[in-house]
Amino acid sequence: MSSEIPRIQRVISILWPSFLTSGLATILFFTLFDPVHLLAGTALAELSRLGAYSIGFFCFWGLTILTSGLTCYFSQPCDDNRRRTRGRQDDSLGSAL
């Protein structure tokens, strides 16, 4: 059997820390850099500041979800993958979630 913690806890442990870190990253990044200056002359020049902050936040969140997801995947025990029972049509990545 894979991890003992409930599935909701596994989902939360990927989505929630990544959300927090992304928020922090957004604050730090956009305090330093004004998005209007960054985007001037690019295709997104007309984007409002609020829009830039929002898109920036979701970009960061996407990246941090990737990190948390990989961490969860790597914290699965290695040898279990081979002995995993065929209860569902899953690979080990599916079970990590």
Binding site: M1, P6, R7, I8, Q9, V11, I12, W16, L20, T31, L32, D34, S48, R49, L50, G51, Y53, S54, T85, R86, G87
Partner: protein, 362 residues
Amino acid sequence: MNQTASTPNDREVENALYQKRKKIYPREVHGLFAPRCVLGVFVLLGLYYVIPWVSYEGHQAVLFDLPARKFHIFGLVFWPQDFFYLAMLLVIAALSLFFFTALAGRLWCGYACPQTVWTEAFLWMERKIEGDRPRQMKLDKAPMSLRKFRIKATKHAVWLAFAGWTGFTFVGFFTPIRELGVSLANLSLGPWETFWIIFYSFATYGNAGWLREQVCIYMCPYARFQSAMFDKDTLIISYDEARGEPRGSRKRSDDRAEKGLGDCIDCTLCVQVCPTGIDIRNGLQYQCIGCAACIDACNDVMDKMDYPRGLIRYTTQNRLEGKPVHVLRPRTLVYGLILLALLGGLVYAIATRVPVDLNIHP
């Protein structure tokens, strides 16, 4: 098919997205701490919903103006260059959390945390619409009917409306709220404002209406590490086992010494009022948020039984073991002094800062 024999229960837990948890129906409680809790809820919620509407010298008094990249707090203006003050403020907030935790445990959780405050508000609305604890449980067990649908729909509509106002207010801290209100009335809100209002409304609705104590148990980082800040002189909520055991029901007129019983009559009211569903008689547990509802419930029962109050009470591990109590001890003194120093430093830095900046290139 599974090659290992797994019980139906295991399969249930693995396949369900949600932990198979029983919904917790915290019973309404009155007493010494409950009014303080309610007062806290009113004050904090009041501040939250009222402050964005307060004006100061022609502009919004508290406005973290993200589009204009300036934070206004009454007469003070903070620029991106002033980020240092925000960092200092965060350090001070963290330190004061450690300080109060070392002193009296999860005061934050039980009285001030937004999750607790909003959940209390949502529970109150639920109680007003669905009725008290027995009626709620009965309604949930009943099959769907027109009446049940009507009640549930009303509750969710009220919850969503309140959550919507919460989301709107939240965005109103970050863009001027009066303009936001006008845009909303004219249905001319910008796309991003609309998005974030909806996002925070659903977050409020989801956290306070559905997840409730699950946020405290699974999501909160403070919940995980707060116990590391406890020591034997930290004020905790505790059941006086020596006094209460052996527990058992009895008539009011019975002499408990004669019957060989402790003060606990096993009414389980302490469990019924608990918002996280624990039994404090098993000792302080991770899920306990320190709301003191069990203290109030038990004291009520003690009064009715003519026993002295305090079978469940705030106490310290040292006091329970009969050792002397130290409120002023190295841990609290050090936290307190550093806190004062940083706070003083921050106030001084803000008071003496010069409202001009000069950058030289090269």
